[in-house]
Amino acid sequence: MLAFAPAHAQETVKIGLILPMTGGQASTGKQIDNAVKLYMQQNGDTVAGKKIEVILKDDAAVPDNTKRLAQELIVNDKVSFIAGFGVTPAALAAAPLATQAKVPEIVMAAGTSIITERSPYIVRTSFTLAQSSTIIGDWAAKNGIKKVATLTSDYAPGNDALNFFKQNFTAGGGEIVEEVKVPLQNPDFAPFLQRMKDSKPDAVFVFVPAGQGGNFMKQYAERGLDKSGIKVIGPGDVMDDDLLNGMGDAALGTVTAHLYSAAHPSAANKEFVAAYKKAFGSRPGFMAVGGYDGIRLIYEALKKTGGKTDGDALIEAMKGMKWESPRGPISIDPETRDIVQNIYIRKVEKVDGELYNVEFATFEAVKDSGKTKK
């Protein structure tokens, strides 16, 4: 992992991949690392005559680590890209370094709107919470959901999700009857769920970080909220493909808006899911897709520059780039360097004995409304 450049260093392009490989966000890191490996297996490790070398570093989602690792990678290892970034604070911590060193920062996971505005060298291949939260807000208002209670984790992405949902849902005529922010490290949802139940909404809007979704759904069912006809809606993070099967049948019927489902019915995705399953024995989630498209973006940008690693040229090359991802058609917005993608409305259903998010409606080429509003 720490290997120094071989003697013919001019032939190698190095990518510093900073991910949380340990800690609470480790599943994000593992998915992205897997996806990057998979892409390189499929497409070879040579682009435009240069050898690609990925240097993986673990920041455990602690921004201080991210910053130090990014600095080491840029100064000592002379990487041409820094990539990864599991959480928003980590992506933000590296932003000034990307600007200073003119090194492209490819954000493959972190999802708050502000990130790409912090440096002209940041490009994102994951998503923003605004993208999915506004869509589910519109959808709910148009589909007979009048009263909603919200339960969101009390941190930046949770607040983004809540605010964008609220804005679109109330504009569509919906009413928020109860708003609860739960602490990020929250073991037991029981009292919050009881509050949701007592406020008698048509649906509960939920955003909790990936990992807690399973806990939430189990306790939602335990409390009988599923039987009292209260639906669960939200951005798709809660229903990540990673966790879905562990939630059990309580998750059936949950409607979420998101960029990716392992059940996305396209040839590209079927191939991706099969290859991922074969290589790592599990289903890819939306984080894996963010990583897969991130490394592809790097490959394509290098092809365009003919292997030159000048930061400005690379960013220019990436702007406006379009391709067919396993999640569907995507492009990089030339103005914001953020991803433009389809957002799908999906419902949890049982397919061949396993739970999947089955897509039933598509909102095409959704930009990050967190920025377009400004």
Binding site: P187, D188, Q194, Q219, G224
Partner: protein, 289 residues
């Protein structure tokens, strides 16, 4: 009004769970005067063993529960014989450094073997959902926790206060030299007590997976809760931690329900108020002597 009882019920269940998780620590810390910060690691071990047995090997949940206890206890006794016993006479700082190191090692080991995703134990259908009792929503799983933990508490209290082993243990703790002079095998008593504490933690870990979630960071995430229970309860008996667990469980659940904005701080507020009032905990050492 019925809501109030539902909240009370949830709070009691949560408190009982905290008690089973933490009482092993109260025993090692209070009775054996040993600071075992790796306590949560034994809880996690029990949880994972139960999960593997139920999810992968298809064991019934109620058979896997005692096994979680037994295997955590067995690991406890192995570690006590090889590592822990050398540290009984060392300073508390050495004990803290050693056990926190052990905690980090267990986190890394479980992460390596089991992966870092959160896992759930597949419950029998009979334990899922709620039933209605005069308008009060009673969660079946939480009811089971209250029953199991209640019985355990009574048994524990009886063992410590009424049995020969209980008096040997108390003697061994108060004055190990005099106790061994009277023919009590002090190392054996300690090993057994330690194993029992670890077993309780293992059982608590298995029971808590459904409510608190189970991942490799369990020992670090919940260390604070175990410590709060022991600090507030005092460590000279198990009545203290028991009452503290209930108080904190109910306080936490009620706080999160009635003042959700304040929610996470209620448990700390309770701790601070109690510690100002009684610096050694509800049933602290100095208060008892």
């Amino acid at each position: 009004m019925t809501t109030l009882f539902t909240i009370l019920f949830d709070g009691v269940a949560y408190g009982m769970l905290l008690f089973v998780l933490a009482c092993g620590l109260a025993v090692t810390l209070g009775l054996m005067n040993f600071v075992n910060l790796a306590h949560g690691a034994f809880a996690m071990t029990g949880g994972y063993i139960c999960a593997v047995l139920v999810n992968n090997s298809g064991w019934p949940f109620f058979t896997a529960l005692p096994l979680a206890f037994v295997s955590a206890a067995a690991i406890g006794v192995a570690l006590e014989r090889t590592l822990y016993r050398h540290l009984y006479t060392r300073s508390h700082l050495d004990q803290v450094l050693f056990t926190i190191g052990l905690t980090f090692m267990s986190v890394a080991a479980v992460d390596y073997v089991m992966g870092s995703s959160r896992i759930f134990i597949k419950l029998p259908a009979a334990l899922e959902g709620q039933f209605d009792f005069f308008g009060v929503g009673i969660g079946r799983y939480r009811l089971m926790i209250i029953v199991i933990c209640g019985l355990l508490t009574v048994a524990l209290q009886l063992i410590l206060a009424k049995t020969r082993f209980g008096s040997r243990l108390r003697a061994a703790v108060d004055d190990p030299r005099a106790a061994s002079g009277l023919g009590i095998n002090v190392p054996q008593v300690f090993a057994f007590t330690f194993a029992f504490g670890c077993g309780l933690a293992g059982l608590g870990g298995a029971l808590s997976a459904e409510i608190l979630g189970l991942d490799p960071y369990f020992p670090l995430k919940f260390m604070i809760y175990f410590l709060i229970v022991v600090t507030v309860g005092g460590s000279s008996s198990i009545t203290g931690p028991f009452l503290a667990s209930l108080l904190l469980g109910i306080g936490d659940v009620a706080g999160k329900y009635y003042v959700p904005k304040m929610g996470p701080f209620v448990i700390y507020t309770i701790m601070i108020v109690i510690l100002i009032w009684r610096p050694n905990g509800l049933f602290g050492r100095t208060a008892a002597r």
